[in-house]
């Protein structure tokens, strides 16, 4: 299998297995995957930076075994930055921080198709940067139903004076984020808030929304997974690939675009493939850029 030695920012990295088809049904090779992450580096790095990375590795491609890796592999190059984060047991675990393009390339080279990050930064594990509403459709509900829920959610949040952002999960759902960026916001706050919102949404749209996790209640409804607002939970990083038959990207949508897509009947149109992702960010920039900086306050907390 072919290899290539590259230099990024003066660091030497050996990229291997370039011809391996990681997405065999679609024909997307490892080289293509590395190229994608390289093209997207400027846009994805701000969202990965200083956060504990969870790798989701598919060494045999999407049709093979996968495994999560939270602990930073001991064989990492010495220039990969790490942090020690506390775990439930009281012990600390060393995690990788993707703070630069070479570390991103290194992670991608490990066939970590998916990059997952938490809502906190490694140095302040108790502080949540934002609130997330993870919209997960229970079959036969689909991403279009998630779109309807997201649009209502946006109105509700706007009425509370909060602006929000939406992205595709790259699979069947949507993620709505509310930026907070305040050092005194804890996961306790964000969890209470998102749970309350979920319950109110369920009460008012019982046929469309559920706030309950148990499988029996999720049939044909969109589940607002408020429990994701937790220091131990991770979300798929924006612009990351997903491991499915096709390499869809977790991609941001403009609200007016979401409205248009929800009005049509084609769930596939929500999804963005790598080439399109690269084109769109080059043209429109990072739609989620402000999520990292704007300051907002949750009501009544």
């Amino acid at each position: 299998m072919s290899r290539r030695i590259v230099g990024i920012a003066g660091k030497r990295l050996v990229l291997s297995n370039l011809e391996k088809e990681l997405y065999p049904a679609y024909g997307f090779t490892k080289a293509a995957m590395l190229e994608y992450y390289e093209s997207m580096a400027d846009y994805i790095l701000p969202h990965l930076g200083n956060r504990a990375l969870t790798l989701k590795r598919y060494p045999d491609g999407v049709e093979g075994d996968f495994f999560f890796e939270k602990r930073c592999p001991s064989y990492r190059p010495e220039w990969v930055k790490t942090a020690d984060i506390p775990q439930g047991s009281g012990e600390r675990m060393r995690v990788c921080l993707v703070n630069n393009a070479e570390t991103l390339a290194w992670a991608a080279n490990l066939a970590s198709l998916e990059l997952h990050v938490p809502l906190n930064r490694a140095v302040t594990p108790e502080t949540s940067d934002s609130v997330v509403f993870d919209l997960d459709p229970g079959s036969p509900a689909d991403i279009i139903d998630c779109g309807r829920v997201a649009l209502i959610l946006r109105e509700l949040l706007a009425d509370l004076g909060l602006s929000s952002y939406v992205k595709t999960s790259g699979k069947k759902g949507l993620h709505v984020y509310v930026a907070l960026n305040s050092p005194d916001v804890s996961f306790d706050h964000t969890k209470k808030f998102s749970k309350a919102v979920a319950i109110v949404m369920q009460r008012n749209y019982p046929g469309l929304v559920t706030a309950r996790m148990s499988k029996g209640y999720r049939n044909a409804k969109v589940f607002i997974n408020w429990s994701q607002n937790d220091s131990s939970k991770t979300m798929i990083c924006i612009y990351s690939l997903r491991a499915a038959e096709k390499p869809y990207v977790s991609f941001p949508l403009e609200w007016k675009e979401l409205k248009r897509l929800t009005g049509r009947r084609d769930p596939e149109k929500f999804q963005v493939l790598p080439a399109e992702a690269v084109r769109r960010v080059a043209k429109y920039g990072d739609l989620f850029r402000d999520l990292l900086s704007i300051k907002q306050r949750l009501p009544h907390l």
Partner: protein
């Protein structure tokens, strides 16, 4: 490289077996031929075992376990690219065989299923049948595929062929059912045991007994309806799992919203007010 089977098998859902997804992952692709006609095809699964399968997990934190190969000499797990295939010629002594060498052993056959003869379907003793697959035409092969399927149907014949899949060569029968070609691997004659000594003494058969049984058989004869029988054991296991799920939430789940849990009263009130305004607009 040694290919592992994908673990992409869909587990039986705790719902009716009918809504199980089937994935048409191609197991093999190549050409099927008879005389000069060559048809590009893919081999796909025809059966999906219904057995409930479980995953082994780490008891401490419920993370899934993976099967890996471990080297006792170095005391560590080795990756796929460090694994080679060997044949043991004497205890501890191995001859290494590479993938290319393996594939070269039957060069004609690794991408072709050549039908060497046709034969009456009923002539094939059913003890020969091993495992069934479907053949699906690849692009451009649809017409020739249809032809083969139809002429086999009209003549009531099956094709006999050989091909190499993975590390093994198979003798196969190809038959046509409902416009679709089934490929069934066959056991080699040396693998089929003999039942010569099993039959009882060639005594005269009790005519009366035989007649009585025939009468009973006729009374009990009906058409074959495979749907009548379901895997009872599987059914019991599924029921048991459903019950367990009701009693105890699956691990990894956060606390379920069991009680009508409400947030801080003033927050709920404020949210409901906002909600009412939003609904008015729509």
């Amino acid at each position: 490289m040694i290919k592992k089977n994908s673990t992409g098998k869909v587990p039986p859902r705790l719902s009716s077996g009918k809504d199980r997804e089937t994935s048409f992952q191609s197991i093999w692709s190549g050409t099927i031929s008879f005389s000069l006609v060559a048809i590009p095809v893919q081999l796909v699964k025809a059966v999906e075992p219904g057995r409930v399968s479980f995953r082994m997990l780490h008891g401490t934190d419920f993370s899934p376990l993976l099967r890996r190969m471990y080297c006792p000499e170095e005391g560590k797990i080795v990756g796929q690219d460090e694994i080679i295939r060997g044949f043991e010629t004497a205890p501890g002594r191995y001859i290494v065989i590479t993938d290319e060498e393996l594939e070269s052993v039957s060069p004609q056959r690794s991408r072709t299923i050549e039908i060497v003869r046709f034969t009456d379907i009923n002539e094939i003793d059913r003890v020969c049948y091993n495992h069934p697959y479907y053949l699906v035409p690849a692009r451009g092969g649809e017409k020739a595929y249809s032809l083969l399927s139809e002429i086999m149907r009209r003549t009531g014949k099956a094709g006999i062929a050989r091909f190499v899949l993975g590390e093994r060569e198979y003798l196969v029968a190809i038959k046509s059912t409902g416009g679709v070609l089934n490929l069934i691997t066959l056991h080699y004659s040396e693998e089929i045991l003999s039942d010569g000594e099993l039959a009882p003494e060639a005594d005269a058969i009790d005519a009366g007994e035989k007649a009585r049984i025939k009468k009973t058989i006729r009374k009990m004869t009906t058409d074959f309806a495979p749907g009548k029988y379901s895997d009872r054991r599987r059914g019991k296991i599924v029921t048991f799992l459903k019950k367990k799920l009701k009693e105890k939430a699956a691990v990894e789940a956060p606390e379920a919203l069991e009680e009508e849990a409400v947030g801080p009263a003033d927050l709920m009130a404020a949210l409901q007010e906002s909600m009412s305004r939003v609904k008015k607009i729509h």
